[in-house]
Symmetry: C2
Subunit: 186 residues, 2 copies
DNA sequence: TTGACAAACTAATCACATTAGTTTATGATA
DNA sequence: TATCATAAACTAATGTGATTAGTTTGTCAA
């Protein structure tokens, strides 16, 4: 008895995201997604154009969720507090959605408009906050890149289990954030 | 006419590394490695215990090369210059071996002593330099984590093509390094 | 009521990983 | 020198996942 109209691209993508968060990004196969949705593999092709398109859709979903998360954290704040809030929100998102978070970077096609827009949103939020610090020339761009590299690197190593020592990771992240913020003050 | 004794584990791993650097880590398949070595797929099983073992071997190779690279950069230097040299060497390695570099990030199995040792080497080199700055308590650990997160995040974003704007990336990396070094001075 | 369409399905094919079992070159030993 | 155990190659077969082609069947609108 085929042809029940419950599936769509968003539902398929969400299922993939849940699998990614729960079992890791490498466990996201069409077979796994189909099974979770109670459907045969080829049925997924009505909604996504194959595995790499599904990965692309996951990247877009992740980037948009992340941007929303960061936006909420930044609103109503400014200066050091805004930077800290953004960094913390970014990290919290990666913790809450480790699989989805990794999908952003693995996007097969980095040219996709929605993905670019959502990624740019995050950077713009950060850039606007940093510009208020009154840095000159391209220094604000360097700072944005530095902050983004730092958060990304930190959470990537965390998610992968790269920090062996038992010392509190929150404190390490605080040190990193504070140190970079000091570099924003001329 | 089988049985020519030229292959061994190191050769297979190296071939995989070259493929990874040239075409990306996801292009490392037993099929691709076998073809490059002019051999049938099952022959590889005489030297590695399957694809996931091959990935482990690549991680070990990468970690040891990276540690060696960083060690050479650090020797004979101290203070700020040592930190800068280490950061630059780390980044240069990732640029020279983008595929291998990504291979090292997988969480090491607890039994993989060589991988753990090589990874620890890099951290120890950094830790020894940083301890000379005279930070107190666990602060040296926070600093090591911060520096590592920063380099890793930066090169990961670079390799993935995450920096859209044309502003010089070397300068951005310099800003990041300098800013973190400032945090090492009490 | 019916017909077009969307969305499910089955079947077939291809690539890759893995295992089992076979062949052969090589190096040590009688 | 002959032979023999072994390591390293091979062929063959199996399983999983992705993909495409072609078929069936609900559903909605005319």
């Amino acid at each position: 008895m085929p042809a029940k109209r419950n599936l769509d691209r968003a539902t398929v993508t969400l299922a993939a995201g849940i699998i990614a968060d729960e079992f890791g990004i490498e466990s996201v196969t069409l077979a796994a997604v189909a099974e979770r949705l109670g459907v045969r593999i080829p049925s997924l092709y009505n909604h996504v154009a194959g595995l790499s398109d599904l990965r692309q859709a996951m990247a877009v979903l992740a980037a948009e969720l992340l941007a929303e998360h960061v936006r909420r954290a930044a609103v109503g704040r400014s200066g050091d507090a805004a930077v800290i809030a953004i960094m913390d929100a970014y990290r919290a998102f990666a913790h809450a959605h480790p699989g989805l978070y990794r999908a952003v970077l693995r996007a097969p096609d980095a040219e996709e408009t929605r993905l670019i827009a959502a990624s740019q949103d995050v950077l713009d939020i950060l850039l606007r906050v940093i510009e208020s610090f009154g840095l000159r020339d391209g220094e604000a761009i360097h700072a944005v890149r530095g902050l983004r590299s730092a958060v990304h690197g930190f959470v990537d190593l965390e998610v992968v289990g790269g920090f062996g020592m038992p010392l509190d990771r929150d404190e390490s992240f605080g040190w990193l954030t504070r140190t970079l913020i000091q570099g924003l003050h001329p």
